[in-house]
């Protein structure tokens, strides 16, 4: 993968691979930059997005802002990845915290889980 930088007088353009930086990651990084720059997205190819960055402060260094944006992309790519990996653990911890406050919820959740398991087994047994 390469991040290609192209510079004009007033803007800088990066090219990002959607396979590495999904649209949600690009939007998240763009949102963080709202106070510094206007971001415009365009498709270069099926898998590549052109990210145009127009700094709001004309004195801003274009290379610097481009590199900062790349850092934000990596930041959010890592964040969403971690969320995926740790999602189940976070869910268990949240459930523990909630059920300790309301034990009746635990009984209902346990009953539902058993019902789902029984249904799953019944479906497996069917030819």
């Amino acid at each position: 993968m390469e991040m290609i930088f192209k510079k004009n007088k007033r803007s800088i353009k990066l090219t990002a691979d959607l396979g590495l930086y999904p649209l949600s990651t690009i939007y998240s990084a763009s949102y963080v930059f709202l106070d510094r720059a206007t971001i415009y997205l365009d498709k270069e190819t099926d898998n590549k997005v052109a990210i145009w960055i127009f700094p709001k402060n004309k004195k801003d260094n274009l290379d610097g802002i481009g590199k900062d944006f790349c850092n934000e992309l990596i930041n959010y790519a890592h964040y969403f990845d971690s969320l995926k990996i740790n999602g189940d653990i976070i869910k268990i911890l949240m459930q523990k915290a909630l059920f300790s406050a309301a034990p009746s919820l635990l009984k209902e959740a346990g009953k539902k889980e058993i019902e789902d398991l029984v249904e799953e087994l019944q479906n497996k047994e069917k030819p």
Binding site: K13, L23, Y27, S28, S30, Y31, L34, T38, I39, Y40, L41, D42, K43, V49, A50, W52, F54
Partner: protein, 73 residues
């Protein structure tokens, strides 16, 4: 000319790729703030947005607003 502008019939439109900007969001914005978007046209893989303004500062504000709305969902 800015890369997000498209000229046609002596008018300037903001062009937004349909794979990157959702039509539902654009329709929502048009419904909620009719003073912003005049019309939305489909053209090849793009939506062409006619705004109630020709000021380039407003074009930038609109692009900012799209990012804000998309991320706020």
């Amino acid at each position: 000319m800015y890369p997000f502008l498209h000229r046609s019939d002596n008018k300037r439109y903001i062009k937004l790729h349909s794979g990157l900007y959702k039509k539902n969001l654009l329709k929502e914005i048009k419904a909620e703030e009719p003073c912003y978007i005049k019309s939305i046209k489909a053209h090849k893989n793009y939506y062409l947005i006619d705004l109630h303004t020709n000021d380039s500062k407003d074009y930038f504000d609109f692009l900012d607003y799209l990012i804000y709305r998309e991320r706020s969902k």
